[in-house]
Symmetry: C2
Subunit: 415 residues, 2 copies
């Protein structure tokens, strides 16, 4: 029998792994802008130019020298001769002469000699070709100054930032069309258990289809990894070792979802212990579901042994494996690895727990009284996969409570 | 000048478009299970078999006939002869004989003649080969019954459901490895404006790079559409019409992001009005930013004219275009089109608004006092793209308020 490690808190378990991973050496690759969505910036993005690159109008109206509008009001207008129109996409060749103005559109470059814009609503264009200005403007009024959005040389996004749609706009504005991003870590996934057949298989009595392989691979993909499902390995320590070693040699990490029998969990631990040093860091996490989880670091790569129960495997993959993927991508990960909640809700019923253990419960989120969301636990006797399918989110019962009462607020996590 | 439609509320604007789209005829395609993540179910998923398909053990222990444990306790144990071990992945050929039990692991099939499991912690295995049972069990105890997770014939996921990682586990458990999903709607995106150059271009004085094309395309892709950026068209009504008609002929919808000058917005409206009936449904939405937005339905396809300002374009794409994509995918969309908030936060400062108008403000979400999240507005004078890049979320100021005060709760939306 392998040494059974002391059960440790989820935070402590993750931090033991983080200490091994340290500051990973990021391998970067170039993503063309349209494919950079969801990728992780490999280097801080520094603006190589200022935005806007020229002072431009923030309104439709007339470009003026603010001085010339001094004292203008509805009862005492100022009259400026219309000297033309600023074309979009160019800087007017002429300098704005005293006593004149130019028609300008939002986004157009301010002509030289102009320092403000009078919006069209505060003017009248007279048949004489003069513009009647009904309000004075200050220098800079309705003008976006050069560098007002971004100044050249400033850091606009940090390394490790996961790119959203709006960030692609920022990159486009700066002309960054080839983005240095972290290469997706490759993570191998092995499912073990004599009772397992692949999803496309036809289980005989006593057999079940592999659920954990597809779920773990999909989660890994969402987290930014490149998942490689390496199939199902029967309950045989030497065969599992061979498959695990081969998988780990070709990837940056390995997840083994064990069959759920005690003997099989032990086999998984023995196999992981043989994959290279320093080996098993944690065997047993104070979390429900998912206690019989293994975190290891073997030959410079993280290795996880997840329980065979599909709810346990999904929760622990989300709680331990995905934060590790984010570390490998160079993304910031909070102490303990827990991702930020997407919101909070009030418990619809009491949820028992045990102090010293962190519990996760699948819930449906429903509208509650007073506009607050309500979390309805989707309890199921044996943590069956459809209890997750029927739920919308997870809630967390912190480890220092003995459960929570109906009406108490809980953090909600999405996956 | 085209007829300027009355400005309508965002909810009303979206519902006018929904009325035209009606119940779209979904075109389905088959996605293999590993590629079904994020796709939309084209048909309700009905279980063709029950799960579990056989009664199985929920614990490591001994399969028994519950009757035989009647009265067992620590002080008065029952003794059962160990008749073997249930192998994972098979149904034992023999029927459990009276007075015997079989060792069983979590997930293994219950042998015939057994109806309960005594967990290993409540037994002692004696050297005699007998099992000392220290507690009585009721029929069904620690057994997952056939069909307890899913019963054959039941609907487990509705059509229009967007598949998450855990859903792929449900599909795998049922053996559904080719999933009927809604085909991604193809949406063309055109950027217009004489001042625009593509992101890879080198703007001359007065020119800017196209920000809206990349942002709108990325948002469309995230929402499940297949975006086709058809490039930049100069401010020329006939050229814009030709480009728009060609794009719409090959796709299921069209988004034109207009340059921001009034004349150009007018050109966009005239072009959209010429793309086919019924044409423009809404020209002007009571929302800030983004008022000069056009919603249209032309020849059976939704068409949008978004403002040229990048913040306006992003907010209105998110508020109007993405819910329309979800309709085309057959997904449920709440009345008015607003997606559900991801949470709520307290305003860090006063935010003025005007009654009758729905406002969206980019915010950073920060930890606040008392554990509640705090929304810090990222106000920028002219709605520049980096005000979005620097923000993490949007908040909504409902249309029936004249603004909100610091400390008031607001709904938070992610993108």
């Amino acid at each position: 029998m392998p040494e059974l490690f002391t059960v440790v808190s989820p935070d402590e378990a993750f931090e033991r792994l983080r200490a091994q991973i340290g500051d990973p050496i990021l391998r970067l690759e170039t993503a063309p802008l349209p494919r950079a969505l969801g990728r992780t910036l490999g280097r801080a993005l520094v603006a190589i130019e200022s935005l806007p690159a020229f002072a431009r109008s923030a309104m439709d109206g007339y470009a003026v020298s603010a001085r010339q509008t001094a004292g203008a009001s509805e009862s005492s207008p100022v009259y400026l001769r219309l000297a033309g129109e600023v074309r979009m996409g160019s800087i007017p060749p002429e300098v704005l002469a005293p006593g004149t103005c130019m028609r300008i559109h939002t986004g157009a470059a301010l002509p030289r000699g102009a320092d403000a814009v009078v919006m069209v609503e505060e003017t009248n264009l007279l048949e004489s070709g003069e513009v009647e200005v009904l309000a004075s403007v200050a220098p800079g009024e309705d003008v976006v100054q050069t560098g007002e959005d971004v100044t050249a040389g400033s850091a606009v996004l940090p390394a490790g930032h996961r790119l959203r749609a709006v960030d692609l706009g920022g990159l486009a504005a700066l002309g960054v069309t080839n983005v240095a991003v972290a290469r997706r870590p490759r993570v191998a996934v092995l499912s073990t258990g004599d009772e397992l057949v692949p999803p496309e298989g036809h289980p005989r009595p006593g057999e079940v289809r592999d659920v954990n392989g597809p779920v773990v691979c999909a989660m890994l993909g969402q987290a930014g990894a490149e998942a490689q499902h390496r199939g199902i390995v029967p309950d045989d320590e030497e065969r599992l070792l061979a498959a695990a070693a081969a998988a780990l040699a070709e990837t940056d990490g390995l997840v083994i979802t064990a069959g759920s029998s005690v003997s099989l969990r032990d086999a998984t631990a023995r196999v992981i212990a043989r994959l290279g040093g320093p080996g098993i860091l944690v065997h047993g996490v104070a979390v429900k579901p998912g206690k019989p989880t293994i975190l290891a670091y073997c030959g410079g790569k993280p290795v996880f042994g997840l329980p065979g129960n599909p709810v346990s495997a999904a929760v622990l993959c989300w709680r331990m494996v995905l934060p590790a993927v984010r570390l490998l991508l160079g993304e910031p990960v909070a102490p303990g690895g827990l991702p930020p909640p997407v919101g909070s809700a009030r418990l619809a019923q009491n949820v028992p727990s045990r102090s010293g253990r962190e519990d996760y419960v699948a819930v449906r989120i429903e509208p509650g009284s007073g506009g607050e969301a309500q979390a309805v636990p989707a309890f199921a006797k044996s943590n069956l996969i459809f209890s997750l399918v029927r739920s919308g989110a997870l809630i967390r019962i912190p480890r220092d409570t003995g459960g929570l009462l109906a009406g108490e607020p809980v953090d909600v996590y999405a996956w």
